[in-house]
Amino acid sequence: MSSADDVAAAASGLLEVRGLVKRFGGVTAVNALNMTVRAGDVHALIGPNGSGKTTTLNVISALYRADGGSIRFDGGELAGLPAHAIARLGVARTFQNIRLFGDLSVVENVMIGRHVRTRVGFVGALLPGGATAREERETREKAHELLRFVGLEHVAGASARSLPYGDQRRVEIARALASEPRLLLLDEPAAGMNPAETDTLVVLLRSIRERGTTLLLIEHDMNLVMSVSDRITVLNFGQHIAEGQPAEIARNPDVITAYLGGTLDAA
């Protein structure tokens, strides 16, 4: 890659990770990671197990505190901000091991996703009618609309826990989308899905991108990665070993070595 490309990428980077370090005890999980996610892209973060992908996502969304480096989102520094503030700035996410509000209904899960886009506080809640009722109605409508979008409107009233695995993942996505994020972090969205569900997911991810949401995606399913990604960053042992378009990555010898000599011929 030429340096001119880098400058261009940096100029339009929605998320810029520079020199990111995260240690657990003596283990360095993420080591001086650089990564640029361009606005409007589907950006995949791949690497073997234990390469620090999820840790990177967790540091970006402030579930872990970074031990060094910077994370700039739309020009502002994220490192040091609490998780909820980052969500407020427009970074939403899903989790590798699904984290739904299990006892609540599907639509309530998505309504909670609207939290940062709604205002009514404690005092507002006590006042009957007016603005509160309107906002409630809008929140609910918006939630139903999103459930339609992910294809789950028919289970809106069911408890989130009662859904099959694949549907739970889609509820998580709908919940994340409810905050109208500019950047959506997806941690292995296809895990546990059957091929049919994965196909639906691909369609869904594409349409999310069409809505103008930037995606940063961790995924093991290389078919999925290669078919939806605009750019790919490859991690190994917490370090960035390659970044580029899917085709470049598939040819990169370092990447192939990292995957134990396997080939990424699926692309």
Binding site: A83, H84, A92, R99, V107, M111, H115, V116, L126, S159
Partner: protein, 337 residues
């Protein structure tokens, strides 16, 4: 795998119980309130009325605990201490400064809410059993302060001559009259809890209860909302404490013990922790249960203990869950096919 259509059974209106409960719900509530308002016209026994008054006051404490534990998932075993703080604030203001009862009640609520804030803030770092123990510690310390800070609390002797509230020359000095104050307070507290539960704040609290990490990642300032829950639980208990003080007119530190906090917790869990009607039902049932068992003489507390175990084992979602199940069983049959 496609999703199972059966899961839609409960439907959004049932599980959300918010705006559109159908026309029957407001009517049912109005009828219930009307019946409750007429109660003293039919019940003349001071004994029963005093039980009802106290049950209502306990329902307020338990609703407060419901907001903290049922909604937000934070276990506190210090509700009795907040009850005490409310009672003593009211008692001190009326007997020492000569305040009338009404503003004292407000002050009692504020005071307990403030202490709730002070306790909630450092306790936020703790969860589960750790939080439980920190609140037990706070409760025990509060009771010790009530016993030993004699210049303000009058120590173990307690504080007497707390005046009843009055409007003009109408004094709320009988159980029947006081009933209306309790009724209004219970309804107001239930309304507040219900509004919280069914709007954004309540959803945020429930999100924290269900999964705090996901809640934070969704943009919910968990710290802030947990403090709100602590403050509300404090305010509810403070109001209840004050109501109790003006009803009995005498307070002493032994009423605000750890054991009493445990009783409130049991009331909530038996009623159904995430539900407002559950909190009220639990409080009323477990306050009346020992009274009903009185004819068993000394063995009744034993039976009460066994009943608590049985209720937890056989009614997993509390009384409210049991009622829900029964209702579903009787109303769903026609369209079950």
């Amino acid at each position: 795998m496609t999703s199972n259509p059966n899961v839609t059974l409960s439907g959004p209106n049932v599980t959300l119980s918010s705006s559109k409960g159908g026309a029957s719900r407001p009517v049912a509530i109005a009828v219930l309130i009307a019946v409750l308002a007429l109660l003293p016209a039919f019940v003349h026994s001071d004994y029963l009325l005093s039980l009802v008054d106290t049950a209502g006051i306990y329902a307020i404490v338990v609703m407060g605990l419901g907001i903290l534990l049922g909604f937000a998932g934070q276990l506190s075993l210090a509700q009795a201490a907040f009850l005490g703080i409310g009672a003593y604030t009211s008692g001190w203001l009326t007997t020492n400064l000569g305040w009338p009862a009404w503003p004292s009640m407000g002050a009692a609520m504020m005071m307990s809410a403030l202490v709730g804030l002070a306790v909630g803030y450092p306790c936020l770092r703790l969860s589960g059993h750790y939080l439980a123990l920190a609140t037990i510690g706070f409760g025990i310390i509060t009771q010790l302060v009530l016993i030993n800070w004699k210049s303000v609390t009058n120590g173990s002797d307690g504080m007497g001559n707390i005046p009843p509230p009055q409007i003009g020359s109408f004094v709320f000095d009988s159980y029947g009259r006081y009933y209306y104050i309790v009724l209004v307070a219970v309804l107001a507290c239930a309304y507040v809890a219900w509004r919280i539960k069914t709007t954004r704040v309540g959803r945020a609290l429930e999100a924290i209860r269900e999964n705090e990490i996901a809640a934070r990642a969704t943009g919910i300032d968990a710290t802030r909302y947990k403090i709100i829950a602590f403050v509300l639980a404090g305010a509810y208990a403070g109001l209840a404490g004050s109501l109790l003080a003006h009803l009995t007119k005498f307070i002493s530190p032994d009423s605000y013990s750890f054991d009493q906090s445990v009783v409130f917790l049991v009331m909530l869990i038996v009623g159904g922790s995430a539900s407002i009607s559950g909190a009220i039902l639990g409080a009323v049932l477990l306050w009346f249960l020992p009274e009903v068992l009185r004819p068993l003489k000394t063995s009744y507390i034993m039976v009460y203990g066994a009943a608590v175990v049985a209720m937890v084992v056989f009614m997993p979602r509390g009384l409210v869950g049991l009622l829900d199940t029964l209702r579903t069983r009787f109303t769903r049959r026609p369209d079950a096919a």
